[in-house]
């Protein structure tokens, strides 16, 4: 039924035939067994408990910080004149960016019929949702009085007697991020329904049968249902693709509609989107390489998948690098002294260290992926991808802080200092993210079984 290929390395290039996306001679039942064994094992591995334990303690740290913030007010952060947007917004943009790869892998690669997406899209979508939760946290608590959060939405209230300002990019953000979170959850859940049905049919415990039974909606895999399902999935993908673009575009509008030098530049929308994809893919690689090793999923998440992701990381990294270059060139070409100064200051001013961390991590380090060994050696690419995400965090830091600390009024120029709450919240958000991801690995289908089965080569195909 399937090609028997004892070699796990499927990164060779043979133009005459397609590389198999499922290795180890797995057939349909084999795919199901491989994925379900993670969830069926009696006791999870020790490493899972270790990861969850560490992540959960970080989550508690985050909870304590948020509690402290709510009791004391936003003054516990380092945000102050002139950098009223400090780490919280940096963390927000960072997490939202990471939250882009999931839907992008799912939606755009689906529309482009890139079959290799099937093994990685589920985990990537889950990652998207968890990253968006982390992202939503920061502006959520940034509003100070979180219990009045519903003022952000056009809720008709008699006592407030006013409405949000729809000309404000911050309000666009509210709509964009909440729409994105909702649509991502729909997309993720819809993709999971057939796989949850598999869980339902294999489940042995009563509570499991009830929960997975309800979640699977009574899915039978009927051809008519599949027909509507596939069309609905395609429509969702077609909607999600411009949505992914719009979300980070709108995040970039937060900066670019202003007149602050270094923020107001028209290339921000595509540049932010490319950066988001860049960091998102890096995060997918960072997560999937250990998961693949832990659960023995080398047959499904093959080296080819990882290699492709490395190539995308390199490509988007260069797009981001090109945008840095265009910005610099136009800052000079425009002849506007404020623009020129803003960019000169970024590279050679008092935040030069942040700028050069950004450039080396985002533009220079990913260039190692030109070498085949680098993009086919899992442990090595994880290191590179961690660097990429460090770089992308610094990119948002550079954009936010350098411009604010050197705006039009020299008398208000200052140096931004984060507080320990800022630092703990950033670390704590990783705890939240990892906790959710660890729970996902244990209780939900990590790989889209139904989709992988669809790309297993059939006999007449070769």
């Amino acid at each position: 039924m399937a090609t028997v290929n004892p070699v796990l390395d499927n990164t060779y290039d043979d133009a005459a035939k397609r590389t198999p996306l499922v290795l180890g001679g797995l057939d349909y039942a084999g795919v199901t067994d491989d994925v379900c064994k993670i969830w069926e094992e009696e006791k999870p591995q020790k490493i899972w408990f270790l990861v969850l334990g560490v992540a959960f303690s970080l989550l508690l740290v985050l909870g304590a910080c948020v509690g402290h913030l709510l009791m004391k007010g936003t003054g516990v952060w380092g945000n102050n004149n002139p950098a009223y947007w400090g780490w919280p917004i940096v963390n927000f943009v960072f997490w939202v960016g990471i939250g882009h790869a999931g839907t992008l892998i799912s939606a755009i690669l689906f529309l482009f019929r890139q079959n290799w997406r099937t093994s990685i899209n589920r985990a990537a979508e889950a990652m998207t949702i968890f990253a968006v939760i982390c992202a939503g946290l920061f502006p959520g608590i940034h509003i100070g009085r979180v219990w009045a959060f519903y003022w952000l939405f056009p809720v008709p209230t008699e006592h407030l007697a006013m409405w949000p300002n729809f000309r404000s990019p911050l309000l666009w953000d509210v709509f964009a991020v909440s729409t994105y979170a909702t649509v991502s959850v729909l997309f993720w859940y819809m993709g999971m329904v057939p796989d949850i049905a598999t869980f339902r049919d294999r489940c042995k415990t009563r509570i499991g049968k009830l929960v997975y039974g309800l979640l699977s909606l009574g899915w039978t895999g009927s051809a008519r249902a599949w027909h509507r399902y596939e069309i609905a999935y395609t429509i969702l993908a077609a909607l999600a693709t411009p949505l992914v673009l719009s979300v980070h575009t709108i995040v970039s509008f937060d900066f670019a509609v202003s007149q602050v030098p270094g923020w107001h530049t028209t290339i921000f929308p595509p540049y932010f989107v490319a950066g988001a994809i860049f960091s998102g893919f890096a995060m997918v690689v960072t997560l999937l390489v250990p998961v693949r090793k832990m659960y023995g999923l080398e047959n499904l998440i093959t080296l080819r998948h990882l290699e492709n992701m490395c190539k995308i990381i390199m490509a988007t990294g260069m797009m981001v690098g090109t945008a840095y270059g265009i910005e610099f060139f136009i800052a000079w070409y425009s002849g506007v002294q404020y623009e020129s100064y803003a960019f000169y200051n970024r590279a050679f001013g008092n935040y030069w260290w942040a700028y050069w961390i950004m450039v080396s991590c985002n533009v220079l380090i990913p260039q190692v992926f030109w070498i085949k060994w680098c993009r086919t050696t899992p442990w090595f690419m994880v290191i590179i991808c961690i660097f990429v995400n460090i770089g992308m965090w610094f990119e948002r830091f550079v954009i936010t802080v350098t411009s604010l600390c050197r705006d039009f009024v020299p008398s208000s120029w200052a140096y931004f200092h984060p507080t320990w709450i800022d630092l703990l919240m950033l670390i704590g958000s990783f705890g939240l993210f990892t906790t959710l991801f660890a729970l996902f690995c244990r209780y939900l289908p990590v790989i889209a079984m139904a989709e992988v089965k669809g790309v297993i080569p059939r006999d007449h195909d070769h």
Partner: protein, 491 residues
Amino acid sequence: MAEENTTDPTQGNSKLVGLLAQFDDPDSLVHACDQARQAGYTKTDAYSPFPVHGIDPALGIKRTVLPFIVLGIALGAVFIGLGMQWYTNGGSIGGVSTDESPLFPGYRFKISGKPYFSLPANIPVTFEVIVLSSAFASFFGMWFLNKLPMLANPLHRISRFKRATNDKFFLMIKNADAKFDRGSTEAQLNEWGAVAVEECRQDLTDIRLPGWLRLVALIGAILLMLPPVAIFRAMGMTNRAPRLHFMPDMDWQDKSKTQTVSPRLVNDEFLFADERAMRAPVDGSVARGQLDADPEMYRGIKRDYTPAVSVTTATGSVRTSLGPNQNQQDVPAAAPPAEDVSMFITTFPDEIEVTEELLARGQQRFNIYCTACHGFSGNGNGLVNQRALALAATGKATWTTAKSLHDPMVKDPEKNPIGRIFDTITNGRATMGPYGDQIPTADRWAIVAYVKALQETGIEPPVVVAEEGGAVAEGTTTEPSKTGDGTKPRP
């Protein structure tokens, strides 16, 4: 034929739904579907762990209307998205704007010079509304068309069917089909390559709602009623207790505000015995930058001066200043002859160097602080003075006219040495209030320098016209006790 099969007598409480045939690979399933369609079956369905390519034409499945549903919703969302923004931000048609709406009026505010309804700025939110509505439409549209969630399905009772979500493929020919015949259909299915054929039966007891579920639903419904009942009850009652404060909202802070009562200790005693929350500075403490040790610089009094008489506040001296310089300068101002003019310095203190810059500064400060009464030229005819005189003329107020700085007595360096002018600005004189708190020391010296310069210009003191003079006389006579040296109308 179909009617015969709707109830199967041998199976008592169950109904035959159809025949389920199992296949081991997608190609044989598609092949069997094709055969079934060609054999004339229409009420058929196939079940597979993943969408099998080519099964739609084999089963004769028509394209779903879902895309059109989504398109319709999306077009509607354009109007909803734009309309929402237009309404809430106070858009208007023909001069009638939504902010005049009696219920939930629109809210107008000017932001960065943009119109209330500015299309480019409203595109992003409109786009998000379209995407959100369309996503819901396609997601729940799929549920609706597929009749999901459908948790009770006879197929789930068949243990073989559990592999439909794993690795096996099934074709069901339904009992409801006109061509269905229990025996021949089974034969056909076997002929088309089925690995196994099995009956699918609907257990009629499955359809009924279990009794315990009704009880749970009833209890749930009653419990759900409780919150609204509690809310309505609370709304219909008066309650004098302070409302619950779920969030502190910075309403309570660990500090005492000015002019409030001292915080109390646990045993209900006051923390401060005088029951005031505000504290005076500790005796002998000097605030930063307020030492002011040099009397020449800070008070205009000679360093070597020792008061010959102990001074007390004379009657008629109006002092409102509570500044730190007060006690040193408690000089009776109402009686110039009794005042020891010799204590004042006659030249500028060492720190002050009279330059053009200082004079310019003095002029500027003078124009800010002094001209309201004394006028720009210093002849005592400022706007406040004019207005007060006009009011005094109608008897509505009393007023002591402002002093002309060109008055010979004021000009006289014997009677008014430099230190004394400084003292006048600092502590006031007669009806003139003290300016020590408003004007920094150096600026007061600058004003002194400017006043001296102004006096050198030789501007004649104004001649009070008759009516005004009368008014002044009237005004001054009403309060004779307060007429100091500056109150006599000029002849």
